[in-house]
Symmetry: C2
Subunit: 275 residues, 2 copies
Amino acid sequence: MTLTLVNGESAQSIPADDRGLNYGDGVFRTLVIRAGRAALWRLHLAKLISDCTALGITAPAEAELLADIRHIASRMPDCALRITVTRGSGGRGYAKPQTVTPRRIVSASTLPDYPARFATNGIQVRYCKQQLAKQPSLAGIKHLNRLENVLARSEWTDPDIAEGLLCDSDDNVIEGTRCNLFLVERDGLVTPDLSQCGVAGVTRDAVITLAAQQGMACRIESVNRSRLSAASEVILVNSIVGVWPVARLEDLEWRNFPVATRVRQWLHAYGNATD
Amino acid sequence: MTLTLVNGESAQSIPADDRGLNYGDGVFRTLVIRAGRAALWRLHLAKLISDCTALGITAPAEAELLADIRHIASRMPDCALRITVTRGSGGRGYAKPQTVTPRRIVSASTLPDYPARFATNGIQVRYCKQQLAKQPSLAGIKHLNRLENVLARSEWTDPDIAEGLLCDSDDNVIEGTRCNLFLVERDGLVTPDLSQCGVAGVTRDAVITLAAQQGMACRIESVNRSRLSAASEVILVNSIVGVWPVARLEDLEWRNFPVATRVRQWLHAYGNATD
């Protein structure tokens, strides 16, 4: 089941001259609505505004987004919500039209039904062959140019593999196809530097903040494969899956996930306190 | 004026769950229809098929595209035509749906009215600050992930500047925001290597082939800014503008364009012979 609002109105379609379609000229967010409440809403809103600003797109007003969310939550109180903001309709050519009205597309889907063991026992992941290009002007932004992710995700069909890890052209590990990544090392958490590529998700931001509040070191650094192999835990996070520890990666295995469990508890308490 | 066909039917919109919108998961072509005939059609069709194949998208049948073109040419015999092929509609997530039907969007716009002096006297261009990321899996393909071009084109508004040049992260000159590039050197033509980034347009392909037929050397090589500065002509080409020599780039000036004129004549004769 899906339910879509385009600029606040129920709609199943968008104009064919939308620059989101023609050039990937826009940004998006994916978040969870549970019991009618949008999880980590303040962080998602801040990130949406920041990503729009980075591309010179006027972000929608919070009131409009909240009205969309209320409308959807009244029909689907538990759902995965995608908010897309495109630059809007425009004629031929890369130049932005002189006057342009951004378009907001809010679409709800049934929440995916992941096995509970993914969170408790960990998941199996693989390295993708597809690499992430280094593009500092777009790094961190959740924009609509996502062919690298599509190509990476097309590398496997085995349903036992829950996520693929992506490296940059220097073989630094950056992220999963749809998750951010943390390592647990002796002296705390490490998450890959996203200044050259990757998407800086809000769950990653929340974990960085919560680690600081909890007195656990969390550093943003380059991570290569051997550093990842040596980590005592490897943790994947995003708004939909929450916190998944990695149990298997090629010939490597991890069995105990005490830090992943703590991080999940932090996020749970944080979500309850702030939503 | 615009006129749009979606899967062969007159339409102004596409479904909001199209993966072209959600991920830039698709490719496109831009070509000219003059007096009802699609210029360089064989080359455009071959490139469309090749780009679809590179992304694992089933290309539309030629007969469907020709029917679209006939329909449009009967109403707009002279127009700029954009053919977009997306992977089609799909649910949430980067994974391709198990069954997916590509969507074809064919849209005609009024031909842009460029001053004739751009072709005869040359154009003014600039270097863009925006760099092209190196991504060999997507290089050459005219896909829908075009934010680099959008950001580059947003760097200037001066209408006297007809095009911006883009370099990669090693400062190799690759292309214009919407044109391919040739240099004229003592021993022939040089066009930048597009194995790491850039779009390999069909006009570039045609010029490479025609140079060989005409006995003019044409090499595909790395081009840095000093090599470009030393060229006796710098020529920009695409399906819409045709052949534009560069007259001014920052403090550099060029005044004679004998090779650009020859290349234009080759393309003209080739188009008449092959369309």
